[in-house]
């Protein structure tokens, strides 16, 4: 499988169906790279013509903006919008809800107007359109699985159902945590917390959330965000449950369930 960049498409005078915005976590973080690869494999398998920006992609500026550094955010946004507009990008899919939120809601005011889709919504559409076909009786059929709403997909953008519909398509037994959907509890990474030590408190936010997820009795915690995945994995390890409870991105679950 060959992953082409926007530059390669442009060199041939072509335009892909969609740009896959990988994001920094998806590009560099070892755990998140697996999600990236899983999603790319799905797209490749079902024949979605996609490109990445490759070395031309830069941080959206999200952690800088949320920490309070508007200058740095504006610099990053300016450069990214120049690149995206230069290629005439119309449609973007991303596996990171932070990138999704900022590209969808915060770039338009700065001159970057694209149709932006989160990968869970994209997967749901591919399943509904019959482009993604799933195995009968796949790995997750009947398994007890809980779903963690990320803040920037859920409350931030009101997307609660698409990821759940994908899980339903996998025939899982979905068990909800008490704090779900609009009441979902943060994993603790947002607002640039990922990049600093937590402030002093009684416990860590990811410990609190992971404990809640483990208490559902689920064997898999399904996530939609590379940061949530990291935070929840750490939380599960803290409870010494890493042998019985896995944290997986929805794309990884779909990739493992594709029909031949």
């Amino acid at each position: 499988m060959k992953i082409k960049s926007m530059a390669e498409y442009a060199a041939n005078g072509e335009n892909p169906e969609v740009l896959f915005w990988v994001g920094c976590a998806g590009s560099f973080d070892q755990r998140a790279q697996k999600i990236t690869k899983a999603f790319a494999q799905i797209l490749d398998k079902v024949g979605v013509q996609f490109a990445i920006l490759g070395k031309e992609e830069k941080c959206t500026g999200d952690p800088a903006r949320r920490a309070g550094n508007e200058f740095l955010f504006q610099m990053m946004a300016y450069n990214n919008i120049q690149t995206l507009n230069g290629y005439g990008v119309k449609k973007i899919v991303t596996a990171c809800p932070h990138c999704f939120n900022i590209l969808k809601n915060e770039y338009p005011e700065l001159g970057g107007n694209y149709e932006v889709i989160h990968h869970t919504t994209f997967l749901q559409q591919l399943i509904n359109d019959g482009r993604v076909r799933l195995k009968e009786g796949g790995d997750f059929k009947g398994k007890k699985i809980t779903y963690h709403d990320s803040c920037y997909l859920g409350r931030g953008n009101n997307i609660y159902e698409a990821p759940r519909e994908v899980l339903q398509a996998l025939d899982v037994e979905l068990v909800e945590m008490k704090r779900c959907r609009t009441n979902g509890l943060c994993c603790g990474a947002g607002g640039a917390q990922m990049f600093k030590e937590e402030e002093k408190g009684d416990t860590r936010i990811n410990f609190e959330r992971s404990a809640e997820a483990i208490d559902t009795g689920a064997t898999i915690i399904a996530a939609n965000c590379p940061f949530c995945t990291t935070m929840l994995t750490d939380g599960v390890k803290n409870k010494e449950k890493e042998d019985s409870v896995m944290v997986m991105d929805i794309a990884e679950m779909v990739a493992r369930s594709l029909a031949d």
Partner: protein, 441 residues
């Protein structure tokens, strides 16, 4: 005698309205100390929020028990005000139950309905007192409420209990007086609730009954006037501001952070100097970046602060607070209001604000609180009246980072990485598509 009562009433009502209006003017002035922000677009969506959130109390129903009790108090408050209108007109015109001849049979129906509401308000407020003082519901007994905020809450509830008791006692006495055919006491159909309690007062002499009925009438209406003037000093002001606050609440997706146009332009002119406008000496002076004090916040942030009734739904849903960090979104709102009141007094005294060496950040809200926020928007989602604590937190953070260069070392490293390596971690930009090479191989 009647004339004196009438004069007294008019004097009292006039004073109550005058002082209330004066204080409302001050609050309006204080809110306008904030920065301009346009919140007038899309009025249909805004009216929808007023109907659903303010009138319909949609978000309250996430917690059904307090929501139902609160709905009784709220419905009672709005609907019983029709009765206050009669009391008010009776007071000015020296009449007694002047709506009886106009409404006939409907009158007793209405009063009966008001009595049911009144009783529900009374019971609900008693349950609220129990929740606060005996059950100690967590969000109603957290630290930031110590002292005045707790007293404020109890005063409000006790006042409502007293007002409703006076209203019901007045009606009971009135009906005994009606049955005795006492002059002025127009005969009505029995009122639904109080008609069942007339036997309790039937042993009293007509003179004492009149005294009781009049005392209740006066105490009730004077209580209402005093309560009106207590509102602007209390968290209870939400009964007024919840409505405009729901109208002006933000309509953008909650995940969207507000843009800073001045910085956007600065970056644009740096990258494309040909677009920069010629220096204009008349250009308005630059604001400071972010917010250090209440005047740097938008007027809507300040209206939020006055609309907050300290219910603590925000704090109860805040992941930082739940895990024992110092941050409490409710405290952010309370601090903003307290500081704004202080600034308002400063303006009253000095005509315009004179630096008092204090500011919202540091003196009221600490850096530790601000740094604990994950921007998860749970506080915004939880607020029944459309308050956005996160908006204030974000602006204070912007001030800390851009004006004070006050950020933790790890954030400085992250900023450096984003700037130099185009990613928040120290990886080479050349490695960005390594995963794609691996997958291709």
């Amino acid at each position: 005698m009647h004339l004196i009562q009438q004069l007294l009433f008019i004097l009292f009502a006039g004073a109550a309205i005058y002082f209330f209006a004066k204080k409302v003017g001050e609050i309006r002035r204080n809110i306008k100390l904030g920065r301009d922000e346009d919140r007038t677009d899309n009025s249909s969506a805004r009216w929808r929020n007023v109907l659903l959130q303010a009138f319909g109390q949609k978000k309250m129903f996430k917690k059904p028990t307090p929501a139902i009790l609160h709905f009784f108090v709220y419905a009672g408050f709005i609907i019983i005000n029709i009765e206050i209108l009669e009391i008010f007109l009776d007071g000015i015109l020296g009449k007694h139950r002047m709506f009886v001849p106009m409404l006939g049979g409907l009158y007793s129906f209405l009063i009966g309905f008001f009595e049911i509401l009144g009783a529900l308000v009374l019971i609900s407020c008693l349950i609220f007192l129990v929740r606060r003082n005996i059950l100690h519901v967590k969000r109603l007994s957290q630290h930031e409420l110590d002292g005045w905020p707790k007293t404020d809450a109890n005063l409000i509830l006790i006042t409502e209990v007293v007002l409703m008791s006076l209203f019901l006692t007045m009606n009971t006495a009135d009906q005994v007086l009606q049955s005795r055919g006492v002059e002025h006491y127009v005969v009505t159909e029995p009122f639904w609730i109080t008609s069942n309690f007339t036997s309790m007062l039937s042993g009293m002499s007509t003179g004492s009954l009149i005294a009781l009925e009049r005392s209740c009438w006066w105490l009730h209406i004077v209580g209402v006037f005093l309560f009106l003037n207590y509102l602007p000093y209390s968290k209870h002001l939400h009964i007024v501001l919840a409505f405009p606050n729901a109208y002006y609440t933000r309509l953008d997706p909650q995940g969207e952070m507000s843009n800073m146009k001045e910085i956007q332009n600065e970056v644009l002119y740096m990258m494309q100097p040909e677009l920069a406008p010629a220096a204009d000496p008349n250009q308005p002076q630059q604001h400071r970046f972010g917010a250090k004090d209440v005047m740097d916040l938008s007027w809507k942030n300040l209206m939020d602060a006055y609309s907050c009734t300290e219910c603590g739904r925000c704090t109860a849903s805040c992941p930082a607070n739940i895990t024992g960090k110092k941050l409490s979104p409710r405290k952010i709102m309370m601090d903003t209001r307290d500081r704004l009141e202080e600034v308002g007094k400063n303006v009253d005294k000095n005509k315009s604000f004179v630096d008092d060496g204090k500011s919202l950040v540091h003196d009221y809200i600490t850096v530790e609180e601000l740094r604990a926020c994950t921007t998860c928007q749970a506080c915004v989602e939880a607020c029944p009246v459309g308050i956005e604590p996160l908006s204030i937190i974000n602006q204070l953070r912007r001030y800390l980072v851009m004006e004070e260069s006050n950020s933790p070392q790890e954030w400085n490293l992250m900023f450096g990485n984003v700037e130099n390596n185009m990613a928040p971690w120290k990886f080479s930009p050349d490695e960005r598509d390594r995963w794609a090479e691996e997958i291709s191989a």
